[in-house]
Symmetry: C2
Subunit: 607 residues, 2 copies
Amino acid sequence: MTAPNRATLWGRVLADELAKGGLEAVCIAPGSRSTPLTVAFADHPDIDVYSHLDERSAAYFALGRARRTGEPTALVCTSGTAAANFHPAVMEADQARVPLLVLTADRPPELRDSGANQTVDQVKLYGDAVRWYTELPEPEADERKVRSLRTTAARALAETTGVPSGPVHCNCPFRKPLEPIDVPGDVPDSFADTLAAVGRDGPFVETTGGTQTLTDDEYQKLLQALEAADRPLLVAGPADPADLASLEPRAITDLADRLGAPLLADPLSGLRYGPHVKESDTPRTVYGGYDAYIDALPAPDVVLRLGASPTSKRLRHWLRDADARQFLIDPAGAWREATFTATDLLAAEPGTVVERVLEVLDEREPAESATPGSADDAWRARFDAAERRHLEICDEALAAATLESQPFEGAILATAIANAPDPATVFVSNSMPIRDADRFGRPQAADLTVLANRGASGIDGIASTALGAGSATDDPLVLVTGDLAFYHDSNGLLAVERCDVDATIVLLDNDGGGIFHKLPIEEFEPPFTDQFKTPHGLEFEALGDMYGLEFERVAPADFSAAYRDSLETPGTQVLAVDFDSEASHRRREALDERVTSAVENIVDGSN
Amino acid sequence: MTAPNRATLWGRVLADELAKGGLEAVCIAPGSRSTPLTVAFADHPDIDVYSHLDERSAAYFALGRARRTGEPTALVCTSGTAAANFHPAVMEADQARVPLLVLTADRPPELRDSGANQTVDQVKLYGDAVRWYTELPEPEADERKVRSLRTTAARALAETTGVPSGPVHCNCPFRKPLEPIDVPGDVPDSFADTLAAVGRDGPFVETTGGTQTLTDDEYQKLLQALEAADRPLLVAGPADPADLASLEPRAITDLADRLGAPLLADPLSGLRYGPHVKESDTPRTVYGGYDAYIDALPAPDVVLRLGASPTSKRLRHWLRDADARQFLIDPAGAWREATFTATDLLAAEPGTVVERVLEVLDEREPAESATPGSADDAWRARFDAAERRHLEICDEALAAATLESQPFEGAILATAIANAPDPATVFVSNSMPIRDADRFGRPQAADLTVLANRGASGIDGIASTALGAGSATDDPLVLVTGDLAFYHDSNGLLAVERCDVDATIVLLDNDGGGIFHKLPIEEFEPPFTDQFKTPHGLEFEALGDMYGLEFERVAPADFSAAYRDSLETPGTQVLAVDFDSEASHRRREALDERVTSAVENIVDGSN
């Protein structure tokens, strides 16, 4: 490898090393100080470059891509506030454990605190939200320095997929010339053939990450506790990309069946959708409607919890109030249970724990083994009955929404998920859509990858994250978003054309923050409407014109047909469905009461 | 003061104390965790609430308002990524020394690292970019705690306008209930009459900030150096709000005249515009065209520099290459001169230094005093001649732009500034517009407040900052922006209607990053167009529809008339003027050559 000057060399070695380490994509926002990085990435045959004009959107796009693939995506920006615009997505990547490699260009170190233009303190800019912060040395065609660059690049990339995965920040100072201009003597000819310049065939450093594993005794103890339970339960919360890669869904459903334990699968767990799901057999094994009925069921006595804290607040509170032994499994040994009732933390990879427990079951002499499903027989039957009744009532509500014009937002989520293509990526915005997806998105055998930004649960960056996820595979992309989130990242829609992503965007437009109707502040007027609900009256059609999207206002009753059409139509369509957020919320409440009373009857009857 | 519960009490005391300390405005983004703050501010009769839906835009709006008034503006958001969206504006506020009080709501401390929803590590979120970080204790109707709250609120507000002024971050944890719901016993009746609850008549703590002052000897020494100079020079860079408040423009022009020193006034110095400016007399005292001709002039031998580093790179390099004694005055004693050639740093308030030096001059016996203007007589004459020739050539170029259809972007800046109402606030975007304003915005006696985000020089948040500045006074508001900046903060346009700001927005639309034509990367294709110039083809008309703006595409030759019409028309108009960025840049270069050769002749002739 050679280069006309040291900055160009630096950029080329960095891109080369990252490509050798497996980096496939980078999101770049234009800027001058980052020129050596931009030029090198744009020139690299194995790295796809996505160009974005708003760094906040760029970062969320990269986040979405990395979340969908589980592979690190890199980010490049110039110095100054550009780097601060990455912060929200870095925060989400931290909480949601998404591998992001953030490369911020910087001015040379002597310019800090000098009043130089566009020069800020970028050192540790994201605080503790990154797995690793490192500042590259100043570019120079020095063998040790360039070997350190390769080592740092390889290590930084590997750290993004460490345990837990997450963002890594490399601050990269450059001085002029930034462009690939010939600077005689800057990179001696003799440097071209050095190991530092050429690198190795693969990564300069191959990182093999160890994982925390339990001993056989510890697996036995876990199994004993689960088998001794009368009412064992598996709870799968939102999964991070590493969880998804490590978990074999059939292994978990197998374990659930052998223990007689219902598996409550969060829509973001990677377990609510897929060929392992039995849509109607009894027992179902995988349950998705618990947010509607869980309060009516008896408490579990032993719980095994995977992933992050479940989306369903009702489930979380039900687990909090249970007098149960609760095992949390977390590969990083982090505590992710904010009611502080769990009793055991297993710092180990969930997939490994599940498989090893199954192996222990298999290895046993038949005589010793507890009878699978020996738990309280009524236990799973109650979940089956409750789930069935919940789904029947949902079906009635869906029919009423269509036939009797009783629109409610949950019906859109139910339809968008039930009628999504197989396979598909379905991205769901925070605030109400993810809650409605949790309650109304029923388990299916279709191969749906349902994603959300549930790490920090912001409504910023939603369009970009979805489009980034959509860019990563050939699966059709569906985004379901509310109007505030749609407004918040309207800039992200530029990626539809610029990054060539095809999507169906379902816009639930209730003109403001519908979620506040769920909260007691609803009773305080003022300031409820002006400061919380914040109706804006925005005519989102204009964004269609601006970003080359086909924009259609769809009556709730026509949504299903319009959705089907959109999925069959190339290009990106926005299907905007207007709702009254208060009416939607009242309908949710009414439906909730119906299910609660129906399920209480069932439970009473089955006792 | 009483309250139905401790969270409500906390919010009310905080708002009460901030109002007593003089806070007049707060920008609030909707959210649940921040409910106690939002409710208290919305209810306070003396604080104006601006509601924003995108926290990034909210923060820039607050920045603009604080920059225009010099008074702190507060910011409120909920927990999570919302707070990270404030980061770019906090960074700009740090660099540009703008008083911002950032109040981030947070979940209770026990929820950190617990996997709780929308809970991130907000401690010291903005790193060293704030003057002070503090975390409020958990709300409680305890006298010492509430007195601490009042003290902290008063101190935090005072810190924003300390030396130097800037952002302060208070992280504010709250637990439920967040709404003003009655919680019996939470706030005892007896608490209502305590000093803690009632506060004092004014602020709970009156902060009187000392300033660094020099001794009489030190003033004498400075004056001696200036008087001994053959070619003394005053350079005023971008001023922060405190500089503007402390500097009396006539005092500086008086000093310049008495020393025979030209005053080179950055467009952001607060000194290029105003009644102290002589538009045509010789000597002019205040010079604005130096970016065009400074290289042709002899170097100064003593320089007195105020404010931040000048916008003009050519001026900075000319000063760097001068063999001169250079005094920097900075009230915080910070070093803001990135070429590292200045020789003396005076840590003192610029206004005080100038006035005291004038007093020393006045106090002298006439016999002792050096003759005012004793410096090299040709020194100011050269500046006068160069400035005059530069302005003549600009006038010819402006006429050609109109009459002969040789449009160039600088003509728009020249016109927008020359024809701005008196008084007016003129906000100029970063990248090319501020550079064109620097070169083509001629000094005027009109009372123009010309502002830009020149601290960190980002192109994010431009519309919001301008609208925030516009919201602060009754002066007409003009914003001149490029297309990338306009896209970047398109969300900020929501404030036009939502915050009731009336503006004339001049959009220089050259479909991408015109500034890159100034850089050597222009020669490298690819990746020049795709990764640097980044043409986007956006039809900004749609934003007019979306945000209720009158949008008009204006031919360059018609700009002057359309601009006049817009200024006379209520409501917000966007005047979009299309340019070819490459042609604009070539025209700048050609003009530059003309001025350079014309001024070289003058200087030769006058020697």
